[in-house]
């Protein structure tokens, strides 16, 4: 494993111009993804997880802008790269799958055809072999009876099958990094487990890396090597999975863990995190966006910028007074 | 009410086009009300010696085949076209909104019946149906109004019905029901007034379309008879002179007609923006 990370995100900030003001969706995000590792990004809805992935792929809504930072992927800075260079890697070296798989697929196009579109675009498969290659891809994602499923429309497949088709499309060109944006949201619990296992197996088998985005900390712990915790557009903690759970250093992480049902034996023990995410449209947001909800908040927290600092070699926290 | 005007003002400031439309609308209203007083000549007075004169300082819009001043005729025609359009739309809106609201709120057999009626009207190309109605009932202005009203009915029925069905589940309606208000009272006092804002957009757009419709019918010889000045019939009369180069006879009434329709469409769009803002805040 080389020391240079596969993806290096530095001081990455994104804002959206909306009718109601500028939304500071992401601020100074720093994150590395190494080779052959699965990094999780965990946070509440609205924490900016999806914005980060869409911004990296450069397929953000036109109202969104990357205002600062770099994201170096295989020597190419995704932020400043030209569209031609991005088109070379998008869907090929760097791919993404989404939540609600049935609506993420083209409803009036057969899934086999959608798969063939990707194969045609990114691989050197010749026309005659497209169909068999597509069937191989479907088998690889463990879809039974691929011959028949090829000619099915998304509406005729289950949510789990649709997600597997999307995974097949994403992995068709053997990318080096897969971004999975809440791939199990919208699926029932049993299917969730199957999909997560599939992703882990395929990522490992293909010696790839992956970014696994979810709001479910428990789910992330099942497959991620490292986990980054996000809150209101900030990364507040990054650590190896085990260490994150055994010694969380950020108050928000501690509360997230306490809110997980597995850790409690009784409903009354379930911790709720007070308050709501701050309004990201405000002109002056405090340096620590968790401060309004933090039980250990003191005045010093509101001064000066708040960097993400290393507390030991592999553990970073963005907190003045880590736990 | 005050808040409404405040928002109206805001929208007008933001949207110059809507302001322009309002100005135009005011101008047309003036012409409609004071037409005969504003016209420089008697719209019916013929002066065959001066027939088919090109626009000049004496006759800004030129004269027609009978020597009548076209500007005067165009100005006076505003009233008739506006009356036709307004009456037709008022009838459509009045009957259609009540029918639709009742259908949407109560559902059941009345809903089905109303739906059938609207669908049957919509099964015809609307202008063709208007022609058929006027042909059947008799060729006069009253029937033009009636025909235009009938073909516009489905729009109001459907809009009112959709809004009423949504309101049916609203909390304040439930509250009124619990307070003991009878269904008719609820419909009249609570449901109906809340339908009005979105209907305003439809009314404005409809007025434009009603004028076009009425002019179209007069163009083919239905409704208004000469020598009464009306934009559509003036364009029809002018049509024969286009081929011989006397363009002003048809152009000016047509252009003013276009302007009036354009004005109502812009107003409708502006009102729609206004409604959007209201709904969002």
């Amino acid at each position: 494993m080389s020391a240079i990370p596969l993806l290096s995100i530095e001081n990455f900030s994104v804002e959206f111009r909306t009718r109601h003001g500028v939304v500071h969706a992401l601020e100074n995000v720093n994150l590395n993804v190494g080779h052959q590792e699965i990094v999780g990004i965990v946070g509440e809805s609205g924490s900016g997880k999806s914005v980060l992935s869409l911004a990296l792929m450069r397929i953000l809504d036109p109202a969104g802008r990357i205002t600062s930072g770099k994201a170096v992927f295989g020597g190419l800075d995704l932020v400043s790269a030209k569209e031609e260079d991005l088109a070379e890697i998008r869907g090929r070296e760097l791919t993404m799958i989404f939540q609600n798989p049935r609506s993420a697929l083209n409803p009036i196009r057969k899934v086999g055809q959608q798969l063939r579109d990707v194969l045609l675009r990114h691989t050197t498969t010749i026309h005659e072999q497209l169909r068999s290659r597509a069937m191989e891809c479907l088998s690889m994602v463990r879809i039974a009876d691929p011959e028949r499923r090829m000619d099915a429309y998304p509406a005729e497949l289950s949510g789990g099958q649709c997600q597997r088709v999307m995974i097949a499309m994403a992995l068709a060109a053997k990318p080096s990094l897969l971004i999975a944006d809440e791939p199990t949201t919208g699926l029932d619990v049993t299917t969730q487990a199957v999909v997560v296992d599939l992703i882990r197996d395929l990522v490992k088998t293909n010696h790839m890396s992956a970014i696994f985005i979810t709001h479910d900390l428990a789910l992330a712990s099942q497959i991620c090597d490292r986990i980054a915790v996000m809150h209101a557009g900030h990364i507040v903690e990054i650590a190896a999975t085990e260490e994150l759970f055994s010694s969380p250093r950020h108050p928000y992480t501690r509360q997230l863990i306490n809110a997980m049902p597995h850790h409690c034996s009784h409903v009354s023990e379930l911790g709720a995190i007070p308050g709501n995410l701050p309004d990201l449209r405000a002109d002056t947001l405090p340096p620590c966006r968790f401060s309004m909800r933090c039980s250990s908040h003191v005045e010093a927290c509101d001064l000066a910028p708040l960097p993400l600092s290393f507390i030991n070699t592999h553990h970073q926290v963005a907190c003045r007074f880590p736990l | 009410m005050k808040a409404f005007f405040k928002q109206l003002n805001y929208v007008l400031q933001q949207n110059r086009l809507t302001l322009f439309a309002f100005g135009l609308f005011a101008a047309f209203c003036l012409m409609a009300v004071f037409g005969p007083l504003l016209a420089p000549y008697d719209p019916l007075a013929s002066d065959t010696a001066n027939a088919l004169q090109a626009p000049s300082l004496k006759h800004w819009f030129g004269t027609d085949q009978f020597g009548r001043d076209i500007l005067s005729r165009v100005v006076v025609a505003t009233r008739l076209d506006f009356i036709i359009a307004l009456s037709a739309v008022a009838m459509s809106f009045g009957l259609g909104s009540v029918m639709g609201a009742t259908a949407g709120y109560f559902g059941g057999w009345f809903d089905r019946l109303t739906g059938r009626l609207a669908d049957t009207i919509m099964a015809f190309p609307l202008f063709v149906l208007a022609m058929g109605i006027v042909a059947a009932l008799g060729n006069n202005v009253g029937n033009i109004v009636l025909a235009t009203a009938i073909i516009n009915l489905p729009f109001y029925i459907r809009l009112a019905r959709a809004e009423a069905s949504v309101l049916r589940g609203a909390e304040f309606i439930e509250a009124a029901q619990l307070a003991g208000s009878g269904p008719v009272r609820i419909l009249a006092v609570h449901v109906y007034p809340n339908l009005l804002p979105p209907m305003m957009v439809q009314i404005s757009l409809n007025l434009g379309w009603a004028i076009l419709n009425a002019a179209g019918l007069s163009f083919i010889g239905l409704g208004v008879t000469p020598p009464i000045p009306e934009w559509g019939i003036m364009v029809a009369e002018g049509a024969t002179y286009i081929i011989t180069g006397e363009w002003w006879v048809a152009l000016f009434p047509g252009a003013v007609l276009m302007l009036a329709v354009f004005c109502f469409n812009l107003l409708g769009d502006g009102l729609r923006d206004l409604m959007d803002i209201r709904r969002r805040t």
Partner: protein, 337 residues
């Protein structure tokens, strides 16, 4: 698939029934004595009575309705007072002229409107977008008979590019052998190049007028549908999968956008058929529209009713075609049924 077609056909039946009922009411809703209307203004009292018996106007309403339907089915749509010809025959003879005009106009409009709408949606806030929006807003205000006249003035009188607006063909040429009734198609089939060119020249200006009239709504619809499709989840996925812009815009977005476009096209057809009538008058086009107008002016009512019935049936049929096209394009319709 056949089942779907039959199902759609069955769904069109209530509309057809409604149309027949309404046209029946229109024939009997004539104020005063319907028999007098059909006999004509110059008829004697005996003639009126004769007509009354002949048309069964002395029977009960239900019987009259039954007779009406039977007559329609048998092709007896009455007789024109002015020409003495059977209405059904006149309508059938003149129908191709109207169809050729309407379809030509629709084709012209679609060829411009859809690319324009697509371009407006993919190049937001550029001049193309603004042009499309201006067309969409002003286009709906244009009275079609007025634009027709303007075109005649500009292209015939001033520029001399277009021929005189006097019908389908130059007076010196004779119509091609009637195979479809469409001069363009028939002249090509019989190899009469000169007739083809001449028909095309006569067709151009009226077709352009109709095209301009429906350009606005179709452009607006296409733009809106494309904007919707381009911001959908599956287009985002397609982009993330790195598919080319062309594939994303045309194979993914546009094909999906065709669904809402097809749905709203039905309303456009209503305006289209109405516009047809007005354009036929401006250009002296010998279709069923001008047939109806001429008859109206002469207080000859049977042709008008035949015209209304034909247009309505045509409209129901066009909507049926749209419905079927929609079902073919959207597999979810088949899956859900």
């Amino acid at each position: 698939m056949i089942l779907l077609f039959l199902k759609r056909l069955a769904q069109a039946i209530p509309s057809l029934i409604g149309v027949v009922v309404v046209t029946f009411i229109l024939t009997r809703a004539l104020p005063g004595d319907p028999a007098a209307y059909f006999a004509g203004a110059a008829a004697t009292k005996e003639a009126v009575e004769e007509i009354r018996k002949k048309l069964g106007l002395d029977q009960s309403m239900p019987k009259q309705f039954l007779d009406y339907i039977v007559n329609l089915a048998q092709g007896d749509w009455g007789t024109s007072l002015t020409t003495g010809q059977s209405v059904a025959h006149e309508v059938m003879t003149r129908l191709p002229a109207s169809l050729e005009l309407t379809l030509a106009g629709l084709l012209l409009a679609t060829v411009v409107a859809i690319p324009l709408g697509v371009a407006a949606a993919t190049r937001r806030d550029t001049w193309v977008d603004h042009l499309a929006r201006i067309i969409a807003t002003t286009g709906v205000s244009l009275p079609v008979f007025f634009t027709g006249l303007l075109f005649v003035y500009l292209f015939y009188f001033i520029l001399g590019w277009a021929p005189a607006p006097m019908g389908r063909l130059d007076v010196y040429l004779s119509a091609p052998k009637a195979i479809t009734g469409f001069y363009l198609i028939d002249s090509l089939l019989t190899g009469e190049g000169a007739v083809f060119m001449a028909s095309l020249k006569q067709l151009l200006l009226p077709a352009l007028t109709i095209a301009l009239f429906v350009l606005a709504p179709i452009t607006r619809m296409t733009r809106a549908a494309m904007l919707g499709a381009l911001s959908s989840d599956f287009v985002r996925t397609a982009r993330a999968m790195g598919l080319s812009d062309t594939t994303v815009v045309y194979r993914y977005a546009l094909r999906n956008a065709m669904l809402p476009i097809l749905t709203t096209l039905g309303m456009v057809f209503s305006f289209l058929l109405g516009a047809n009538v007005l354009v036929e008058k401006v250009f002296a086009w010998p279709g069923i529209g001008s047939y109806a107008i001429e008859s109206l002016v002469a207080s000859d009512y049977a042709p008008v009713q035949g015209f209304v019935l034909t247009m309505a049936v045509l409209y129901v049929f066009l909507n049926l075609v749209l419905d079927i096209l929609y079902s073919l394009l959207d597999p979810r319709v088949r899956i859900q049924s």
